[in-house]
């Protein structure tokens, strides 16, 4: 996608609207230890408001990915409470958890697409958040309105012309944008992204982050993302949370943070 096109919607690619609603994420006393290994998280508290854009930073092993995966129980929390979109995440049964997950768009570090299938079919898979059955398995069988919506999602990430291309013929950046389109197909209320820019070159990484931030703004969806790129954390979020020692060690508005300061946080953590 052309970054300039987004910049018209969101000047400078920066987030212009602060989250002002109720907390969509409320975490209290969250802890996690993998087996007998080191304690990754101990007593972490966090609140994220509706419509806000939050970047999570921290050195390797500080539990950034673990935290966001625990929010939808892709990783089971060790202790503490998580409220997400007014649901008590830890008490949910299998069916309720699926319903909650369908409201949350998750973008992974790797695109996690089925590479043998077309971009359109991969985006059609996103409809499985609210439908099931053979007509959600491939674009070949999908109803006309689902195909049209999937194509529209690809259009929004600038890849409508690649709809029938197999994912393994696309570049890393294009594949990640297809993953974003699949997430859009979910019509999520909350978007979680785990280093979506990590495996991409600087230009593609920036395009993907701009796409995510602009789309989240358009839909008034909350965006919480992990990034190792300080310039992305500052530019595409309105609040930066730094993890260290198993807790929130830094929490400040993005406009008050500088790359140098965040880099120092990395090195001193």
């Amino acid at each position: 996608m052309n970054v300039d096109a987004f910049q018209k919607t969101a000047p400078g690619g920066a987030v212009t609207r602060a989250g002002t609603g109720a907390a969509v994420i409320s975490v209290r006393g969250l802890s996690k230890q993998f087996g007998t290994g080191p304690i990754v998280m101990s007593g972490l508290d966090l609140d994220v408001q509706q419509g806000s854009k939050v970047a999570i930073i921290g050195a390797n092993g500080t539990g950034k990915s673990t935290l966001i995966r625990m929010l939808v129980r892709l990783v089971e929390p060790g202790g503490g409470d998580i409220r997400l979109l007014d649901e008590d995440v830890r008490s949910l049964g299998s069916a309720s958890l699926k319903r909650l997950r369908s409201r949350v768009g998750f973008v992974f570090q790797r695109h996690n697409l089925v590479t043998r299938l077309s971009a359109l079919t991969n985006v059609v898979h996103g409809v499985q958040s609210r439908r099931s059955g053979p007509r959600t398995w491939t674009q070949l069988l999908a109803p006309q309105e689902v195909r049209a919506e999937a194509l529209h999602c690809l259009e929004r990430v600038g890849l409508a012309d690649k709809a029938m291309a197999r994912v393994d013929t696309l570049s890393g950046g294009q594949s990640q944008r297809v993953a974003v389109a699949r997430m859009l197909m979910q019509r999520p209320e909350l978007v979680i992204a785990d280093e979506p820019d990590a495996s991409l070159d600087p230009k593609s990484g920036e395009e993907v982050m701009a796409t995510l931030a602009a789309l989240a703004s358009e839909q008034n969806a909350t965006l919480i993302f992990v990034s190792h790129r300080m310039e992305h954390a500052i530019r595409f979020s309105e609040r930066i949370i730094g993890l260290g020692g198993g807790r929130v060690a830094l929490d400040k508005p993005s406009h008050m943070a500088s790359e140098a300061e965040l880099t120092r946080f990395f090195h001193h953590d």
Binding site: K98, R101, F108, V114, T138
Partner: protein
Amino acid sequence: MTDAKKSMAGHLPPRIERVNPLTFTLTFAVAAFIIWSLTTAGPSIDQLARGLPNIGNILSRMFPPDLERLDRILWSLFQTFQMAVAGCAIGLILSVPLGILAAEGLSPHPAIRTAARSLIAVFRTVPDLVWALIFVIAVGLGSPAGVLAIAIDVMGFAARFFAEAMEETDKGPREALSALGANKLGMIMSAVLPAASPAMIATSLYCLEKATRASVVLGLVGAGGIGVELKVAFDLFAYQTAATIILVILTLVITVEQTGGWLRRKII
């Protein structure tokens, strides 16, 4: 010998390590069993000396092959191939759900996975000729017994490979679909099967080759196909007709193997 060499010679390791008595006894027992088997079950030199001219005699009586009944033989061969295709199709279709039930991470419950794996092991362990004998008794003489025997034999082979192919697929797309709230069936049909399909198609082609080879011998126990023709030809000492049958079987098996190999290379 220099002083240095003398000193090193004192530290030379023994040529043979000290053998554990249990290892020695087991090695000796295995060697003794192999020799015993060769002497009791294997052909003696005398038998080989008498048998080789007989083989030559049979081969000489096979040529030239008798082409008089070629049309009937080719029709029988076609029916045999149909038997292989039908058995293979049934076996492969049933292998997909059986493979899913046997695959780690996809099976609904560990107990179901164990049961599915055990069933596959039974299908694989019992030879196809034994399955043919069982189905001849169950459904009577003819190709239906052969088709069922091939289907079971294919399931024993394909379901295991399908399960392994599915287990080896990239976990990322599964996790992504799970994260968006997809159900397990959707995850399997959308992410696992498409990713495992090249390996599954290659296995299916190999199964067809295997089923074609099996289908020609199942007739020997009455399970239909060209094997009956071959048995009758040998029973009536019609070696020239038998030669024709063997040649057309060879042509079919080689054609299926070559085509299967070419398709596998194209797909993988």
